[in-house]
Symmetry: C2
Subunit: 244 residues, 2 copies
Protein backbone atom coordinates (compact mmCIF):
# COMPACT_ATOMS: atom_id res chain seq x y z
CA UNK A 1 0.00 0.00 0.00
CA UNK A 2 2.05 2.85 -1.32
CA UNK A 3 0.93 6.11 -2.85
CA UNK A 4 3.40 8.58 -4.31
CA UNK A 5 2.46 12.11 -5.37
CA UNK A 6 4.90 13.02 -8.12
CA UNK A 7 5.78 16.45 -9.47
CA UNK A 8 6.64 16.17 -13.17
CA UNK A 9 8.25 19.59 -13.62
CA UNK A 10 6.85 22.04 -16.16
CA UNK A 11 7.07 19.78 -19.22
CA UNK A 12 7.71 16.35 -17.71
CA UNK A 13 10.72 16.07 -20.00
CA UNK A 14 14.37 16.68 -19.19
CA UNK A 15 13.40 18.61 -16.03
CA UNK A 16 11.98 15.41 -14.50
CA UNK A 17 14.05 14.38 -11.46
CA UNK A 18 15.59 10.97 -10.98
CA UNK A 19 13.28 10.32 -8.01
CA UNK A 20 10.16 11.23 -10.02
CA UNK A 21 11.21 8.92 -12.84
CA UNK A 22 11.85 6.07 -10.41
CA UNK A 23 8.50 6.61 -8.70
CA UNK A 24 6.63 6.34 -12.00
CA UNK A 25 8.66 3.29 -13.00
CA UNK A 26 7.92 1.59 -9.67
CA UNK A 27 4.19 2.35 -9.79
CA UNK A 28 1.71 -0.29 -10.94
CA UNK A 29 -0.83 2.44 -11.76
CA UNK A 30 -0.35 6.10 -12.66
CA UNK A 31 -3.25 8.51 -12.15
CA UNK A 32 -3.42 12.10 -13.43
CA UNK A 33 -5.16 14.89 -15.27
CA UNK A 34 -5.51 14.08 -18.98
CA UNK A 35 -3.04 16.73 -20.16
CA UNK A 36 -0.34 15.57 -17.72
CA UNK A 37 -0.75 11.90 -18.55
CA UNK A 38 -0.31 12.89 -22.21
CA UNK A 39 3.06 14.44 -21.33
CA UNK A 40 4.47 11.17 -19.95
CA UNK A 41 2.53 8.55 -21.96
CA UNK A 42 5.32 8.01 -24.51
CA UNK A 43 8.08 7.89 -21.91
CA UNK A 44 6.46 4.99 -20.04
CA UNK A 45 4.69 3.09 -22.84
CA UNK A 46 3.89 -0.08 -20.90
CA UNK A 47 2.60 1.59 -17.76
CA UNK A 48 -1.05 1.35 -16.72
CA UNK A 49 -2.37 4.92 -16.60
CA UNK A 50 -5.75 6.45 -15.82
CA UNK A 51 -6.55 10.03 -16.73
CA UNK A 52 -9.49 12.17 -15.65
CA UNK A 53 -10.65 15.58 -16.86
CA UNK A 54 -10.36 19.10 -15.50
CA UNK A 55 -11.85 19.88 -12.08
CA UNK A 56 -12.05 16.17 -11.26
CA UNK A 57 -9.34 16.47 -8.63
CA UNK A 58 -11.29 14.83 -5.79
CA UNK A 59 -12.41 11.87 -7.95
CA UNK A 60 -8.88 11.42 -9.22
CA UNK A 61 -7.36 11.35 -5.74
CA UNK A 62 -10.06 9.00 -4.44
CA UNK A 63 -9.43 6.60 -7.31
CA UNK A 64 -5.72 6.59 -6.49
CA UNK A 65 -6.34 6.06 -2.77
CA UNK A 66 -8.80 3.23 -3.46
CA UNK A 67 -6.36 1.41 -5.69
CA UNK A 68 -3.54 1.92 -3.20
CA UNK A 69 -5.79 0.63 -0.40
CA UNK A 70 -6.25 -2.55 -2.44
CA UNK A 71 -2.48 -3.07 -2.22
CA UNK A 72 -1.28 -1.44 -5.42
CA UNK A 73 1.71 0.87 -5.75
CA UNK A 74 0.07 4.00 -7.17
CA UNK A 75 1.56 7.28 -8.44
CA UNK A 76 -0.50 10.47 -8.73
CA UNK A 77 1.21 12.84 -11.17
CA UNK A 78 1.02 16.65 -11.10
CA UNK A 79 2.45 19.22 -13.49
CA UNK A 80 5.29 21.26 -11.94
CA UNK A 81 5.59 20.54 -8.24
CA UNK A 82 3.42 18.03 -6.39
CA UNK A 83 2.79 20.55 -3.61
CA UNK A 84 2.57 24.04 -5.14
CA UNK A 85 -1.09 24.17 -6.27
CA UNK A 86 -0.71 20.40 -6.67
CA UNK A 87 -2.44 17.29 -5.36
CA UNK A 88 -0.28 16.49 -2.30
CA UNK A 89 -2.52 18.40 0.11
CA UNK A 90 -5.74 16.85 -1.15
CA UNK A 91 -4.22 13.35 -0.95
CA UNK A 92 -3.33 13.89 2.72
CA UNK A 93 -6.82 15.26 3.43
CA UNK A 94 -8.60 12.32 1.79
CA UNK A 95 -6.17 9.66 3.04
CA UNK A 96 -7.74 9.84 6.48
CA UNK A 97 -10.82 8.06 5.09
CA UNK A 98 -8.72 5.08 3.91
CA UNK A 99 -6.63 2.45 5.69
CA UNK A 100 -3.21 3.76 6.77
CA UNK A 101 -0.74 3.63 3.90
CA UNK A 102 2.73 4.81 2.99
CA UNK A 103 2.43 8.24 1.30
CA UNK A 104 5.46 9.90 -0.28
CA UNK A 105 5.57 13.36 -1.86
CA UNK A 106 8.15 13.74 -4.64
CA UNK A 107 8.85 17.39 -5.46
CA UNK A 108 9.14 18.72 -9.01
CA UNK A 109 10.33 21.93 -10.65
CA UNK A 110 7.46 24.39 -10.16
CA UNK A 111 6.60 26.92 -12.89
CA UNK A 112 8.10 29.74 -10.79
CA UNK A 113 11.57 28.16 -11.03
CA UNK A 114 11.12 26.73 -14.52
CA UNK A 115 9.81 29.97 -15.98
CA UNK A 116 12.41 32.07 -14.17
CA UNK A 117 15.18 30.03 -15.78
CA UNK A 118 13.76 30.77 -19.23
CA UNK A 119 13.49 34.52 -18.54
CA UNK A 120 16.92 34.81 -16.91
CA UNK A 121 17.10 35.19 -13.13
CA UNK A 122 14.09 37.14 -11.81
CA UNK A 123 13.71 35.17 -8.54
CA UNK A 124 17.14 35.64 -6.98
CA UNK A 125 15.58 37.62 -4.15
CA UNK A 126 12.51 37.32 -1.88
CA UNK A 127 9.39 36.48 -3.89
CA UNK A 128 5.69 35.74 -3.53
CA UNK A 129 3.69 33.21 -5.53
CA UNK A 130 0.01 34.02 -6.06
CA UNK A 131 -2.64 32.23 -8.11
CA UNK A 132 -5.20 34.54 -9.73
CA UNK A 133 -7.77 31.73 -9.89
CA UNK A 134 -10.71 32.55 -7.62
CA UNK A 135 -12.36 29.15 -8.00
CA UNK A 136 -11.41 28.29 -4.42
CA UNK A 137 -10.10 31.59 -3.02
CA UNK A 138 -12.20 34.73 -2.54
CA UNK A 139 -11.04 37.47 -4.93
CA UNK A 140 -10.76 39.90 -2.00
CA UNK A 141 -8.11 37.66 -0.44
CA UNK A 142 -6.20 37.54 -3.72
CA UNK A 143 -6.39 41.35 -3.96
CA UNK A 144 -5.03 41.73 -0.45
CA UNK A 145 -2.14 39.38 -1.20
CA UNK A 146 -1.30 41.28 -4.39
CA UNK A 147 -1.36 44.61 -2.56
CA UNK A 148 0.72 43.42 0.40
CA UNK A 149 3.30 41.67 -1.77
CA UNK A 150 3.66 44.69 -4.06
CA UNK A 151 3.93 47.06 -1.11
CA UNK A 152 6.80 45.04 0.40
CA UNK A 153 8.66 45.00 -2.92
CA UNK A 154 8.56 41.24 -3.39
CA UNK A 155 9.19 39.87 -6.86
CA UNK A 156 5.78 38.46 -7.78
CA UNK A 157 5.09 35.26 -9.64
CA UNK A 158 1.49 34.81 -10.84
CA UNK A 159 -0.01 31.39 -11.62
CA UNK A 160 -3.29 31.02 -13.55
CA UNK A 161 -3.07 34.67 -14.59
CA UNK A 162 -5.93 34.77 -17.08
CA UNK A 163 -8.52 32.48 -18.69
CA UNK A 164 -11.56 32.66 -20.96
CA UNK A 165 -13.84 32.97 -17.96
CA UNK A 166 -11.59 35.55 -16.30
CA UNK A 167 -10.33 37.73 -19.18
CA UNK A 168 -9.81 40.81 -17.00
CA UNK A 169 -8.09 39.27 -13.94
CA UNK A 170 -4.54 40.05 -15.04
CA UNK A 171 -5.54 43.66 -15.70
CA UNK A 172 -7.21 43.91 -12.30
CA UNK A 173 -4.14 42.43 -10.64
CA UNK A 174 -1.80 44.84 -12.46
CA UNK A 175 -3.96 47.79 -11.43
CA UNK A 176 -3.56 46.82 -7.77
CA UNK A 177 0.20 46.30 -8.16
CA UNK A 178 0.51 49.64 -10.01
CA UNK A 179 -0.55 51.40 -6.80
CA UNK A 180 2.80 50.38 -5.32
CA UNK A 181 5.17 49.61 -8.20
CA UNK A 182 5.96 51.98 -11.11
CA UNK A 183 4.70 51.34 -14.66
CA UNK A 184 8.29 50.85 -15.74
CA UNK A 185 8.80 47.81 -13.45
CA UNK A 186 10.49 45.04 -15.43
CA UNK A 187 8.14 42.09 -16.03
CA UNK A 188 8.12 38.91 -18.06
CA UNK A 189 5.96 35.95 -18.87
CA UNK A 190 6.55 32.45 -20.21
CA UNK A 191 3.99 30.34 -22.01
CA UNK A 192 4.26 26.52 -22.27
CA UNK A 193 7.35 26.25 -20.05
CA UNK A 194 9.39 23.21 -21.07
CA UNK A 195 6.81 22.17 -23.66
CA UNK A 196 6.31 22.54 -27.41
CA UNK A 197 5.73 26.18 -28.24
CA UNK A 198 7.64 27.59 -25.25
CA UNK A 199 7.67 31.38 -25.57
CA UNK A 200 9.12 34.09 -23.32
CA UNK A 201 8.30 37.80 -23.39
CA UNK A 202 9.81 40.66 -21.34
CA UNK A 203 7.94 43.93 -20.97
CA UNK A 204 7.01 46.66 -18.49
CA UNK A 205 4.26 46.44 -15.88
CA UNK A 206 2.33 49.08 -17.82
CA UNK A 207 2.49 46.92 -20.95
CA UNK A 208 1.70 43.69 -19.10
CA UNK A 209 -1.61 45.16 -17.91
CA UNK A 210 -3.01 45.20 -21.45
CA UNK A 211 -1.65 41.91 -22.81
CA UNK A 212 -4.38 39.74 -24.28
CA UNK A 213 -2.08 36.82 -25.09
CA UNK A 214 -1.52 35.68 -21.50
CA UNK A 215 -3.45 32.47 -20.82
CA UNK A 216 -3.75 29.57 -18.35
CA UNK A 217 -0.53 28.05 -19.70
CA UNK A 218 1.40 31.20 -18.87
CA UNK A 219 3.35 32.15 -15.74
CA UNK A 220 3.85 35.87 -15.09
CA UNK A 221 6.81 37.51 -13.30
CA UNK A 222 6.79 41.06 -11.92
CA UNK A 223 10.14 42.42 -10.80
CA UNK A 224 11.13 44.27 -7.64
CA UNK A 225 12.76 47.72 -7.48
CA UNK A 226 16.14 46.29 -8.52
CA UNK A 227 15.02 44.06 -11.38
CA UNK A 228 16.60 45.01 -14.72
CA UNK A 229 16.78 43.81 -18.29
CA UNK A 230 20.33 42.70 -19.20
CA UNK A 231 20.72 41.84 -22.88
CA UNK A 232 17.09 40.77 -23.01
CA UNK A 233 17.19 38.73 -19.79
CA UNK A 234 15.09 39.59 -16.72
CA UNK A 235 17.51 39.74 -13.80
CA UNK A 236 17.02 40.66 -10.14
CA UNK A 237 20.51 41.41 -8.75
CA UNK A 238 20.86 40.05 -5.23
CA UNK A 239 23.52 42.58 -4.31
CA UNK A 240 26.78 40.62 -4.48
CA UNK A 241 28.43 43.41 -6.50
CA UNK A 242 27.33 46.10 -4.06
CA UNK A 243 28.29 44.19 -0.90
CA UNK A 244 30.74 46.10 1.28
CA UNK B 1 31.74 29.28 -25.25
CA UNK B 2 28.97 27.88 -23.12
CA UNK B 3 28.17 28.52 -19.49
CA UNK B 4 25.40 26.66 -17.70
CA UNK B 5 24.14 27.59 -14.24
CA UNK B 6 22.85 24.36 -12.74
CA UNK B 7 20.49 23.88 -9.79
CA UNK B 8 21.37 20.64 -7.99
CA UNK B 9 18.23 20.33 -5.88
CA UNK B 10 18.48 20.17 -2.08
CA UNK B 11 20.85 17.22 -1.86
CA UNK B 12 22.10 16.82 -5.45
CA UNK B 13 21.01 13.20 -5.26
CA UNK B 14 17.85 11.61 -6.59
CA UNK B 15 16.18 15.03 -6.86
CA UNK B 16 18.68 16.05 -9.57
CA UNK B 17 16.87 16.55 -12.90
CA UNK B 18 17.84 14.88 -16.14
CA UNK B 19 18.82 18.24 -17.62
CA UNK B 20 21.05 19.10 -14.65
CA UNK B 21 22.80 15.73 -14.88
CA UNK B 22 23.36 16.16 -18.64
CA UNK B 23 24.71 19.69 -18.15
CA UNK B 24 27.29 18.48 -15.64
CA UNK B 25 28.21 15.54 -17.86
CA UNK B 26 28.65 17.84 -20.86
CA UNK B 27 30.76 20.40 -18.96
CA UNK B 28 34.55 20.38 -19.23
CA UNK B 29 34.82 22.27 -15.96
CA UNK B 30 32.44 22.44 -12.97
CA UNK B 31 32.70 25.40 -10.58
CA UNK B 32 30.95 25.69 -7.21
CA UNK B 33 31.00 26.35 -3.50
CA UNK B 34 33.04 23.72 -1.64
CA UNK B 35 30.05 22.12 0.09
CA UNK B 36 28.11 21.74 -3.18
CA UNK B 37 31.05 20.31 -5.10
CA UNK B 38 31.38 17.76 -2.28
CA UNK B 39 27.76 16.69 -2.91
CA UNK B 40 28.44 15.74 -6.54
CA UNK B 41 32.13 14.80 -6.48
CA UNK B 42 31.47 11.04 -6.25
CA UNK B 43 28.76 11.05 -8.90
CA UNK B 44 31.08 12.52 -11.54
CA UNK B 45 34.48 11.11 -10.52
CA UNK B 46 36.40 12.05 -13.67
CA UNK B 47 35.11 15.58 -14.00
CA UNK B 48 37.40 18.59 -13.55
CA UNK B 49 35.96 20.59 -10.66
CA UNK B 50 37.02 23.79 -8.90
CA UNK B 51 35.56 24.75 -5.54
CA UNK B 52 35.84 28.04 -3.69
CA UNK B 53 34.87 28.99 -0.15
CA UNK B 54 31.95 30.82 1.40
CA UNK B 55 31.28 34.42 0.34
CA UNK B 56 33.53 34.00 -2.72
CA UNK B 57 30.54 34.21 -5.07
CA UNK B 58 31.94 36.96 -7.28
CA UNK B 59 35.35 35.27 -7.65
CA UNK B 60 33.67 31.96 -8.40
CA UNK B 61 31.47 33.40 -11.14
CA UNK B 62 34.38 35.34 -12.66
CA UNK B 63 36.47 32.19 -12.78
CA UNK B 64 33.66 30.37 -14.59
CA UNK B 65 33.15 33.24 -17.05
CA UNK B 66 36.89 33.48 -17.76
CA UNK B 67 37.15 29.77 -18.51
CA UNK B 68 34.02 29.88 -20.69
CA UNK B 69 35.43 32.90 -22.55
CA UNK B 70 38.49 30.79 -23.35
CA UNK B 71 36.19 28.36 -25.16
CA UNK B 72 35.42 25.85 -22.44
CA UNK B 73 32.01 24.39 -21.66
CA UNK B 74 31.61 25.39 -17.99
CA UNK B 75 28.92 24.54 -15.43
CA UNK B 76 28.38 26.62 -12.29
CA UNK B 77 26.53 24.53 -9.70
CA UNK B 78 24.17 25.85 -6.99
CA UNK B 79 22.37 24.04 -4.20
CA UNK B 80 18.61 23.92 -4.70
CA UNK B 81 17.56 26.11 -7.61
CA UNK B 82 20.03 28.05 -9.78
CA UNK B 83 17.88 31.16 -9.52
CA UNK B 84 16.31 31.29 -6.03
CA UNK B 85 19.12 32.88 -3.96
CA UNK B 86 21.42 31.21 -6.52
CA UNK B 87 24.15 32.31 -8.90
CA UNK B 88 22.13 32.84 -12.12
CA UNK B 89 21.59 36.55 -11.49
CA UNK B 90 25.23 37.27 -10.68
CA UNK B 91 26.38 35.37 -13.78
CA UNK B 92 24.15 37.53 -16.00
CA UNK B 93 25.39 40.70 -14.27
CA UNK B 94 29.08 39.79 -14.69
CA UNK B 95 28.70 38.31 -18.18
CA UNK B 96 28.47 41.79 -19.66
CA UNK B 97 32.20 42.26 -18.97
CA UNK B 98 33.10 39.17 -21.05
CA UNK B 99 32.73 38.28 -24.74
CA UNK B 100 29.17 37.23 -25.69
CA UNK B 101 28.57 33.58 -24.85
CA UNK B 102 25.75 31.07 -24.66
CA UNK B 103 24.33 31.12 -21.10
CA UNK B 104 21.74 28.56 -19.99
CA UNK B 105 19.98 28.43 -16.62
CA UNK B 106 18.95 24.92 -15.52
CA UNK B 107 16.41 25.02 -12.69
CA UNK B 108 16.58 22.75 -9.65
CA UNK B 109 14.28 21.80 -6.78
CA UNK B 110 14.49 24.72 -4.36
CA UNK B 111 14.39 24.13 -0.60
CA UNK B 112 10.82 25.50 -0.44
CA UNK B 113 9.55 22.62 -2.59
CA UNK B 114 12.00 20.02 -1.29
CA UNK B 115 11.30 20.83 2.35
CA UNK B 116 7.55 21.05 1.82
CA UNK B 117 7.54 17.53 0.41
CA UNK B 118 9.23 16.25 3.57
CA UNK B 119 6.77 18.03 5.87
CA UNK B 120 3.67 17.07 3.88
CA UNK B 121 2.00 19.73 1.74
CA UNK B 122 2.32 23.17 3.33
CA UNK B 123 2.71 25.12 0.04
CA UNK B 124 -0.46 24.15 -1.79
CA UNK B 125 -1.65 27.75 -1.60
CA UNK B 126 -0.13 31.23 -2.14
CA UNK B 127 3.23 31.55 -0.40
CA UNK B 128 6.09 33.97 0.13
CA UNK B 129 9.79 33.08 0.27
CA UNK B 130 11.96 35.32 2.46
CA UNK B 131 15.63 35.05 3.38
CA UNK B 132 16.47 36.25 6.90
CA UNK B 133 20.07 36.96 5.92
CA UNK B 134 20.77 40.68 6.10
CA UNK B 135 24.21 40.45 4.53
CA UNK B 136 22.89 42.10 1.37
CA UNK B 137 19.38 43.23 2.37
CA UNK B 138 18.64 45.86 5.02
CA UNK B 139 16.91 44.26 8.02
CA UNK B 140 14.13 46.90 7.81
CA UNK B 141 13.22 45.60 4.35
CA UNK B 142 13.14 42.02 5.64
CA UNK B 143 10.91 43.14 8.53
CA UNK B 144 8.51 44.84 6.14
CA UNK B 145 8.30 41.73 3.96
CA UNK B 146 7.62 39.54 7.00
CA UNK B 147 4.89 41.87 8.21
CA UNK B 148 3.20 42.27 4.82
CA UNK B 149 3.31 38.55 4.04
CA UNK B 150 1.92 37.62 7.46
CA UNK B 151 -0.82 40.25 7.19
CA UNK B 152 -2.00 38.84 3.83
CA UNK B 153 -2.09 35.28 5.23
CA UNK B 154 0.56 33.88 2.91
CA UNK B 155 2.21 30.63 3.88
CA UNK B 156 5.77 31.75 4.65
CA UNK B 157 8.95 29.92 3.79
CA UNK B 158 12.10 31.25 5.46
CA UNK B 159 15.59 30.62 4.06
CA UNK B 160 18.76 31.26 6.14
CA UNK B 161 16.63 31.50 9.27
CA UNK B 162 19.38 31.62 11.88
CA UNK B 163 23.16 31.45 12.16
CA UNK B 164 25.93 31.87 14.72
CA UNK B 165 26.23 35.54 13.88
CA UNK B 166 22.46 36.06 13.90
CA UNK B 167 21.21 33.88 16.78
CA UNK B 168 18.11 36.01 17.41
CA UNK B 169 16.86 36.57 13.84
CA UNK B 170 14.32 33.77 13.84
CA UNK B 171 12.90 35.04 17.14
CA UNK B 172 12.70 38.58 15.78
CA UNK B 173 10.99 37.32 12.64
CA UNK B 174 8.49 35.27 14.66
CA UNK B 175 7.70 38.27 16.86
CA UNK B 176 6.77 40.29 13.76
CA UNK B 177 4.68 37.44 12.34
CA UNK B 178 2.96 36.95 15.72
CA UNK B 179 1.44 40.42 15.34
CA UNK B 180 -0.72 39.00 12.53
CA UNK B 181 -0.83 35.22 12.97
CA UNK B 182 -1.88 33.40 16.15
CA UNK B 183 0.61 31.53 18.36
CA UNK B 184 -1.15 28.29 17.43
CA UNK B 185 -0.33 28.66 13.69
CA UNK B 186 0.99 25.34 12.39
CA UNK B 187 4.68 25.53 11.49
CA UNK B 188 7.44 23.15 10.51
CA UNK B 189 11.09 23.08 9.69
CA UNK B 190 13.41 20.71 7.87
CA UNK B 191 17.14 20.44 8.37
CA UNK B 192 19.51 18.93 5.76
CA UNK B 193 16.81 18.41 3.12
CA UNK B 194 17.72 15.48 0.89
CA UNK B 195 21.03 14.99 2.67
CA UNK B 196 22.43 12.78 5.41
CA UNK B 197 20.80 13.69 8.70
CA UNK B 198 17.54 14.98 7.18
CA UNK B 199 15.21 15.89 10.04
CA UNK B 200 11.70 17.36 10.05
CA UNK B 201 9.89 18.96 12.99
CA UNK B 202 6.31 20.28 13.22
CA UNK B 203 5.36 22.75 15.94
CA UNK B 204 3.39 25.92 16.62
CA UNK B 205 4.50 29.45 15.80
CA UNK B 206 4.80 30.14 19.53
CA UNK B 207 7.14 27.17 19.91
CA UNK B 208 9.13 28.00 16.76
CA UNK B 209 10.03 31.40 18.20
CA UNK B 210 12.19 29.84 20.90
CA UNK B 211 13.84 27.01 18.99
CA UNK B 212 17.60 27.07 19.31
CA UNK B 213 18.20 24.13 16.96
CA UNK B 214 17.30 25.95 13.73
CA UNK B 215 20.45 26.71 11.72
CA UNK B 216 21.64 27.77 8.24
CA UNK B 217 20.90 24.29 6.88
CA UNK B 218 17.26 24.58 7.94
CA UNK B 219 14.25 25.81 5.98
CA UNK B 220 11.28 27.06 8.01
CA UNK B 221 7.59 26.91 7.04
CA UNK B 222 4.85 28.98 8.69
CA UNK B 223 1.30 28.01 7.78
CA UNK B 224 -1.66 30.17 6.79
CA UNK B 225 -5.06 30.28 8.55
CA UNK B 226 -6.08 26.95 7.02
CA UNK B 227 -2.89 24.98 7.62
CA UNK B 228 -3.41 21.91 9.80
CA UNK B 229 -1.54 18.91 11.13
CA UNK B 230 -2.93 15.67 9.67
CA UNK B 231 -1.37 12.57 11.21
CA UNK B 232 1.84 14.48 11.80
CA UNK B 233 1.96 16.05 8.32
CA UNK B 234 1.78 19.83 7.76
CA UNK B 235 -0.98 20.37 5.21
CA UNK B 236 -2.52 23.53 3.76
CA UNK B 237 -5.84 22.50 2.21
CA UNK B 238 -6.43 24.34 -1.05
CA UNK B 239 -10.19 24.05 -0.78
CA UNK B 240 -11.10 21.21 -3.17
CA UNK B 241 -13.32 19.59 -0.54
CA UNK B 242 -15.13 22.85 0.22
CA UNK B 243 -15.63 23.88 -3.43
CA UNK B 244 -19.29 24.41 -4.32
Amino acid sequence: MKLTVVGLGPGAGEDLTGRARQAIEAAELVVGYTAYIALIRNQFPDKEMVSTGMRREVDRCRLALEEAAKGKNVAVVCSGDSGVYGMAGLIYELAREYPPMDIEVVPGITAACGGAAVLGAPLTHDFAVISLSDLMTPWEKIEKRLACAAQADFVLCLYNPRSHNRPDYLRRACDIILRYKPETTVCGFVRNIGRAGEEAVTLTLGELRDREDVDMFTTVFIGNEQTVLLDGKMVTPRGYLQRP
